[in-house]
């Protein structure tokens, strides 16, 4: 059914990875940070991992949503959602500024979080911010 001699799916992945790598490196350069190839790759992996987690968490969120309304406590979330929050916390440590409260409105706040996490731009800018602040002033230009 598919062309046996040319793996178009593999070619697509290669172009996507390469184009993303170059674009991220260029934007980081524009922000005044020189990033090594390795750092750039690690950042992309991190972002990929987070978006994948969101993707899986999303269905579970919809499960909760179907029971209707506001879910009152963190501990009453199903396990995958708690896992998602752990990743969310990880995102926070990287500079994303959201607050997890005991009372969480699943229908509004979660979507805000998801939206922010899914937009790589937000995440990436925050990562840059974190890298900037983590480095000593004289090292700030080279990470």
């Amino acid at each position: 059914m598919y062309n046996e001699k040319i793996d178009v799916a593999e070619i697509m992945q290669q172009i996507k990875s390469e184009a993303s790598r170059i674009a991220v490196a260029e934007r980081l350069k524009e922000s005044g940070i020189l990033v090594s190839e390795q750092t750039c790759q690690e950042m992309l992996l991190e972002i990929e991992e987070l978006t994948e987690t969101i993707r899986f968490a999303r269905n579970d969120l919809h499960d909760s949503r179907n029971v209707g309304g506001i879910i009152p406590s963190y501990t009453r979330f199903p396990a995958p959602i708690r896992q998602f929050f752990r990743f969310f916390s990880k995102g926070m440590r990287k500079g994303i500024q959201f607050v997890i409260q005991d009372q969480v409105d699943v229908n509004s706040q979660i979507d805000t979080i998801l939206e922010a996490m899914e937009k790589k731009e937000t995440l990436m800018l925050q990562l840059i911010l974190q890298l900037n602040t983590a480095a000593a002033p004289d090292e700030q230009k080279t990470i």
């Binding site: 046996e4 001699k5 040319i6 178009v8 697509m12 172009i15 996507k16 674009a23 499960d63 179907n66």
Partner: protein, 786 residues
């Protein structure tokens, strides 16, 4: 259909060998070729699933339990069987597929399951070569499995080769009717190599069999030695080394090396040990001759790999090997080493004389074995086991409630196209709101007023209600469904505007409130109702699509993609993909319009044409496409962009000007169907972006596949479900512009890749999206209980 897969092989060493290659290739392809089936896999470790690509992982329901851990403790089999049966019951599984039932290191059911079962028997080696070192427990268990497969009527068997089938008849059973031979394949994308006919500097003969007695490495070394002695006057032949790939224990290697040394061949025989796949591919490509003296094979996968790489094949003539190589090998009997030696030399001479054309023919033969074909045959075999259509039986009567042409809605056209295919399985009456005088006739299909159903309802076995977002066409149909019950087919996942306009704004507020409650429970439903009253606005469509109400009201619900089914999260929801209908013949050669002529002229001048189909809306991301065009022009590419449809974006001209592509963009305006097909034909790359997207079906996308076009889609929701081999996915993030530019640039500068993508799309449309196949899936979904 719901299919459960025994995943134990993922957690054994076999996953890296032939059986694992088989399982990975067949499973990933079957899932790609049928979006309608639901796939389940049982594993003991959730990480095992990561051995599959991400796309496949997303389409599989993974069920984890320690009961599914592979092993040789067969006392665990009753518990294993109970665990499988529980899943069969819980998920209403139709078929259980065991791709590896005879390997001793996996468990096997100890009694039959309540569903159909398919097992893949790869070979009967222990029957042909009874292993001397098997513990009794394994021998007894092996025999038990064979007898169970033989005796149970709901077990059907796939076999890798006619040879294995003959062995089955010889050793096990001579009258089993449910055997299907489905040959394996090799991954041509990895192994195919366009080889030039040039003399090798360091020529060698390759052996990849392994060290098992059955593989006959002793025979290979002896034959190699004798051939050198017999033809010691041929200096060119003497240059050939024998390269042996594979690893075994140190003691065994030592013995083989001693044998080689005794024959004074230490310099001529090379033991590589284990090699990576990358190195294996290199060695296949560097070798001139491939030597395969195995005494028995269920299917000789390495032979195909070697043929694809361009090697000349010298093979044993037993078991399945002639089935694999056909007339493209020099064969020998493993019983006579001297003849093996002669065949090795004869193969060498033939190889010297063969032309590049001979090599191509051999490669083409190997290319006839395809994993796609293996997967399709396996899938169809599975589907056949649950076939409930009895030839000659009376077709059930189906009432379809739908808008109908000439009503101007996509759903009317969809039904008009689909019903002839459904009529193969049902006696259909269409009930519609379309005025009688304006109904487009359809041969052999009765078309009646919607109201007429109430008088004839008892005649029908099934009712299918078409639900879309236009309350003008669907309100009465929805009302009837609420009253009569039946199966719903949702064409738009978001139905909030439909319910708001059709019920709330029309004054049917009680019904609207009830629909909200059915969707989101009493408490949230009431809250949303109060908000609607207060704001005089419907709820947020992204959070409250309200299609949940249709699921609640209907007996079962058809959606067109897995994304929508996942959002609905209901056992009632089934996925039947949007078919790709054949393009009508009358679409060819319509009178040219000015726009069409302009684009034809551009093509004559050597421009590549990018195209976006249908209404130009903000969610089709015209800005992204125009910006990409600007960058492509800056890089000097000869490319133009055509929006084949009417513009609904006020700022479009502004965006075009800003990107300095005024002379490079055309907006066609409305096109009639004939010109629309011509437009697709003229387009080189179709960019079909959506963001946001809420599960809507894309008819133009299916038509683009059908017309063999390279398509780029947004990597989200329902579009993600199409395999990467069929269309390229653009990430929806702030890198999309850069990636889109690179995709287009690559497709323009690599016509062979674009052509491959076009072929894949066309083949996918013809098979996986075939309305003939999908009509059968409708039949199964409508008639079988869930």
């Amino acid at each position: 259909m719901r299919i459960l897969i025994d995943g134990q092989t993922f957690e054994t060493e076999e996953f890296n060998r032939g059986i694992g290659i088989y399982m990975r290739n067949v499973l990933t392809r079957m899932i790609r070729f049928c979006l309608a089936h639901e796939w389940y896999i049982c594993l003991s470790d959730k990480k095992s699933i990561e051995k599959l690509d991400q796309w496949t992982q997303n389409r599989l329901h993974v069920i984890i339990s320690p009961d599914f851990m592979p092993g040789t403790d067969y006392t665990k089999e009753p518990r294993f069987t109970q665990a499988i049966q529980r899943i069969v019951d819980q998920y209403d599984i139709n078929v259980f597929w065991n791709p590896n039932p005879l390997m001793s290191n996996v468990l096997f059911i100890d009694h039959p399951l309540s569903c159909q079962m398919i097992v893949t028997v790869h070979d009967l080696i222990p029957k042909v070569f009874p292993p001397a070192d098997w513990p009794e427990s394994i021998a007894v268990e092996y025999q038990r499995r064979l007898e169970m497969i033989r005796d149970e009527k709901n077990i059907s068997i796939c076999m890798d080769s006619e040879s294995t089938k003959k062995d089955w008849i010889r050793f096990i059973d001579d009258h089993h009717s449910s055997i299907r031979v489905i040959p394996l394949s090799a991954d041509a994308r990895k192994f195919y190599y366009q080889r030039q006919k040039t003399p090798s500097i360091n020529p060698f003969i390759l052996y990849t069999g392994g060290f098992d007695y059955r593989k006959n490495l002793d025979g290979a070394i002896e034959a190699f030695s004798q051939a050198r002695l017999l033809h010691s006057d041929d200096a060119d032949f003497l240059k050939y080394k024998l390269v042996i790939i594979g690893s075994t224990n140190e003691q065994s290697i030592k013995q083989y090396k001693q044998t080689v040394a005794d024959k004074n061949l230490t310099e001529q025989v090379v033991f590589t040990g284990f090699v990576s796949e990358k190195r294996l591919i290199e060695l296949y490509r560097e070798a001139d001759l491939f030597f395969y003296p195995s005494k028995y094979e269920g299917f000789g996968l390495p032979l195909l790999e070697a043929m694809l790489s361009g090697d000349y094949i010298i093979s044993a003539d037993n078991s399945s090997l002639p089935e694999v190589c056909g007339p493209f090998a020099t064969y020998f009997s493993v019983d006579d080493t001297e003849k093996m030696a002669e065949s090795l030399y004869l193969g060498y001479l033939t190889h010297r004389q063969e032309t590049e054309e001979d090599i191509r023919k051999r490669q083409e033969h190997a290319l006839n074995f395809s994993w796609d074909q293996t997967a399709i045959c396996t899938l169809e075999f599975m589907e056949g086991t649950t076939d409930s259509i009895v030839p000659g039986q009376t077709k059930p009567r189906l009432a379809i409630f739908t808008p109908w042409p000439d009503q101007k809605t996509g759903i009317a056209n969809y039904e008009y196209m689909m019903i002839p295919y459904l009529a193969e399985y049902f006696r259909i009456t269409v009930f519609t709101t379309a005025p009688a005088a304006e109904r487009k006739p359809l041969e052999n299909i009765e078309i009646a007023d919607l109201d007429a159903f109430r008088e004839s309802r008892k005649q029908f076995d099934f009712r299918l209600f078409q639900i879309g977002n236009n309350n003008l066409y669907h309100k009465e149909i929805m009302d009837l469904m609420m009253h009569e019950g039946g199966i719903a087919e949702i064409h738009d996942y978001v139905l909030t505007p439909f319910f708001y306009e059709g019920y709330f704004r029309a004054g049917e507020t009680k019904k609207y409130r009830k629909i909200l409650q059915m969707s989101y429970g009493r408490k949230t439903g009431n809250k949303l109702f109060r908000d609607t009253v207060q704001n005089q606005q419907h709820p947020d469509i992204l959070k409250y699509p309200m299609s949940e109400a249709v699921v609640a009201i209907s007996d079962k619900t058809i959606v067109h993609n897995a994304w929508s089914a996942n959002q609905l999260h209901s056992e009632k929801a089934g996925i039947l993909p949007h078919p790709s209908f054949p393009i009508p013949d009358e679409s060819s050669n319509p009178e040219n319009s000015v726009m069409i002529n302009t684009v034809k002229e551009w093509k004559k001048q050597g421009y590549s044409i990018l195209g976006c189909l249908g209404w130009i809306n903000p969610n089709k991301q015209p800005r992204v496409v125009i910006e990409a065009l600007g960058k492509l022009k800056e890089e000097g590419l000869h490319v133009k962009l055509v929006f084949w449809g009417e513009n609904k974006v006020e700022t479009l001209q502004e965006i075009i000007c800003k990107n300095k592509v005024t002379d490079d963009v055309l907006i066609s305006g409305y096109l009639d169907k004939k010109h629309y097909y011509q437009a697709i034909q003229l387009t080189d790359i179709i960019v079909n972006l959506r963001h946001p997207s809420m599960g809507e079906s894309s008819g133009p996308l299916c038509e683009s596949f059908q017309m063999k076009k390279a398509v780029i889609v947004s990597d989200l929701n329902q579009y993600r479900e199409y395999p990467d081999e069929v269309c390229w996915k653009l990430p929806v993030d702030n890198l999309e512009n850069e990636v889109l530019v690179q995709y287009i640039k690559y497709l323009i500068t690599h016509p062979e890749v674009r052509q491959a993508l076009e072929e894949n799309a066309g083949n996918y449309a013809s098979y996986a999206l075939s309305p003939i196949r999908i009509a059968k899936q409708y039949y199964d979904f409508i008639t079988k209980s869930r």
